[in-house]
């Protein structure tokens, strides 16, 4: 450019032509657009049915009758009376449901973190080698190298499998095997989140600055020492950020898993749904939303503090 003001259309055109382009991105965008068009036009989704007279009647009955507490039906809307009703439900079942929902998610995320912590290092390509952070020249390409590589691949595949299956399906399967207790919900959340935290942890370890770890290696540190005393402290903040991020989702999911029959808030949601007591159901759903909100807030505060400490 010759002067600050003389940006000609030619320059802009040249810049436009020189922009980075990727076939993968283009094909992906087209594929996604086609998928969305197919989803809406393929006949699987009947949106207009939502506005049919029958649906409208349903909705009207739901809003004007079903969600109104049984004792208050036919009376004028009174906020104080409604709050009194909601308070009664919360004290009766809601708060104990909230307590177990929270406990399920806390225990699950702690177990998930323990599992992920041990698997993350095995899945990290810079730790799972015969000479972690060692000299590249010394890296042998023989059996040991291939064995470590195979281990990392197996751990990665296991992590993918753990997280590919949703919590709800894990809980559904585990419930049939373990019977009713809190464990199916706890384990389902722990398994799925171990898969996610393990992957995120492995990526964190792979992206660590290798220099301090190579120094440990050069000073004669073993693999376990490098991982435990070198990589873990360096990655700790990131690990904790991910931990609290997944804790938020755990609280959301723990509410819902109760619908399968574990006593969390979801149990009471499903219970009132089955009885068609929609007045109760709406209160429990709102309680669940309040819990999610509280957990989000707590987690956001901790994460901000962690980020500042970084």
């Amino acid at each position: 450019m010759t002067s600050r003001t003389a940006i000609t259309t030619l320059d802009v055109e040249a810049l436009r032509r020189a922009r980075p382009r990727s076939t993968l991105v283009r094909v992906s965008v087209l594929a996604l657009l086609a998928l969305v068009a197919y989803a809406w036009l393929g006949g699987d989704i009947q949106v207009e049915d939502l506005f049919s007279p029958r649906r409208r009647e349903n909705l009207e009955r739901f809003v004007t009758t079903d969600v109104v507490p049984f004792a208050l039906r036919g009376t004028d809307w009174n906020a104080a009376q409604y709050l009194e009703y909601a308070r009664g439900l919360a004290l009766d079942r809601g708060f104990s449901g909230l307590g177990s929902t929270l406990a399920i998610s806390v225990l699950a995320i702690v177990l998930a973190a323990c599992g992920a912590l041990s698997l993350a290092f095995l899945a990290a390509r810079n730790v799972a080698t015969p000479t972690p952070f060692g000299d590249r020249v010394l890296r042998d390409s023989g059996v040991r190298s291939r064995a470590w590589n195979a281990l990392a691949v197996v751990v990665r595949a296991a992590l993918i499998l753990l997280r590919a299956i949703p919590e709800y399906i894990w809980a559904f399967l585990l419930l049939a095997m373990l019977g009713t207790s809190a464990w199916p919900a706890v384990l389902a959340l722990a398994i799925h989140n171990a898969g996610i935290l393990g992957k995120l942890g492995a990526e964190t370890v792979e992206n660590l600055d290798p220099r301090p770890l190579s120094a440990l290696r050069a000073a004669g540190g073993s693999r376990a020492q490098i991982a435990w005393l070198g990589a873990l402290p360096l990655a700790a903040n990131r690990f904790l950020l991910y931990f609290f991020y997944r804790f938020e989702t755990c609280v959301r999911e723990a509410t819902v898993l109760g619908m399968l029959g574990v006593v969390s808030l979801g149990y009471w949601i499903q219970d009132s749904r089955a009885k068609q007591y929609y007045d109760e159901m709406v209160v429990f759903v709102a309680l669940g939303a309040a819990l999610v909100l509280a957990a989000d807030l707590a987690s956001a505060i901790v994460r901000r503090a962690l980020r500042r400490a970084q």
């Binding site: 993968l24 989803a39 177990s100 590919a164 949703p166 709800y168 999610v292």
Partner: protein, 298 residues
């Protein structure tokens, strides 16, 4: 803070309790407390008679998923692999439809819930009207959209589905809305956070050249945050596929429906067939998303 050298006291102690270690310890204590609150005896971790039978029968089929139905079916029923493919297709369709609405909601609400369009140095003009707008309409719309986002995302997609089922009855549009609402809220939250954290140099330059707030936002801020936004949206698509699968447990014709049906009929081989279909679907999308992210962010 985390550096022991920062505090001479910490260095003298053999095991310094830094804030990070304190957080880690309290996490473990919280886990132990949670276990005591719950009805979760360790004995319950071992399957009992009935459960043990299920475990054996279920895992016996892990490597031999059903390639044919395990009980007689009507003549007209398509082959089980076609059935799995069709359920996977519907799962994908629900996820894509839900995400397309969520994306629109996320972009609109994400824009409204940033401060960039009404407060701070990105907003041009110092006319009294502009300033009055910045003091009244801006904060009002901003807080309203943030409240809406919170409402949308604090209710889980399955609970939205349950609410829509109660309000409308079984309807595919309800499933799409159940995904679109919480996902739209989450996308809006993350989008606004990403945009707020984007370097503002380009936006300020546009502002200096006389661009309006909308132009500053969409040409100065969004392109800088673009790769991150796209990567996150695609990650949510992956989550939407899982959510769509689970919606099947509530009667929608996705993979979850097939899994629940076969499991309840004790056709464990069929369960594995559908589970593998789900795994293949999710892993394919995850690999795709990973490849895109590397292209975008690196």
């Amino acid at each position: 803070m985390s550096n022991p050298r920062a505090s001479p006291d910490a260095r003298r102690r053999p095991f310094p309790i830094t804030p990070r270690i304190a957080v880690a310890l309290s996490i473990l204590v919280a886990g132990a407390l949670a276990w005591m609150v719950l009805d979760a005896p360790f004995a319950k971790l071992v399957p009992q008679e009935g459960g043990l039978r299920v475990v054996r029968a279920f895992f016996a089929r892990a490597l031999t998923p059903a390639l044919d139905y395990e009980s007689p079916v009507p003549e007209s029923t398509p082959h089980i692999l076609m059935q799995a493919l069709a359920a996977a297709r519907r799962t994908l369709v629900f996820a894509a439809a839900g995400m397309s609405v969520a994306l629109v909601l996320g972009i609109v609400l994400g824009f409204l819930s940033t401060t960039a369009w009404w407060a701070g140095d990105l907003v041009g003009g110092s006319s009294p009207l502009r300033r009055a707008l910045a003091r009244t309409v801006g904060p009002a719309v901003w807080s309203a959209s943030r409240a809406l986002i919170v409402l949308m995302r604090s209710v889980h997609e399955l609970l939205w589905a349950v609410l829509f089922l109660a309000a409308f009855g079984l309807n595919t549009g309800g499933a799409v809305a159940a995904i679109a609402i919480p996902y739209g809220g989450t996308l809006a939250k993350i989008f606004s956070e990403m945009v707020e954290e984007t370097p503002r140099d380009a936006a300020l330059a546009l502002r200096g050249a006389g661009a309006g707030p909308l132009q500053v936002f969409f040409f100065g801020l969004v392109p800088r945050a673009g790769p991150d936004l796209a990567a996150y949206a695609f990650y949510r698509f992956e989550c939407a596929v899982r959510s769509a699968a689970v919606l099947g447990f509530f009667g929608f014709p996705t993979l979850g429906y097939a899994i629940a049906q076969s499991f309840e009929n004790l056709h464990y081989g069929e369960v594995w067939t559908y589970l593998y279909a789900l795994v293949v679907l999710v892993v394919t999308i995850e690999l795709w998303s990973g490849a895109l992210r590397r292209r975008f962010v690196a």
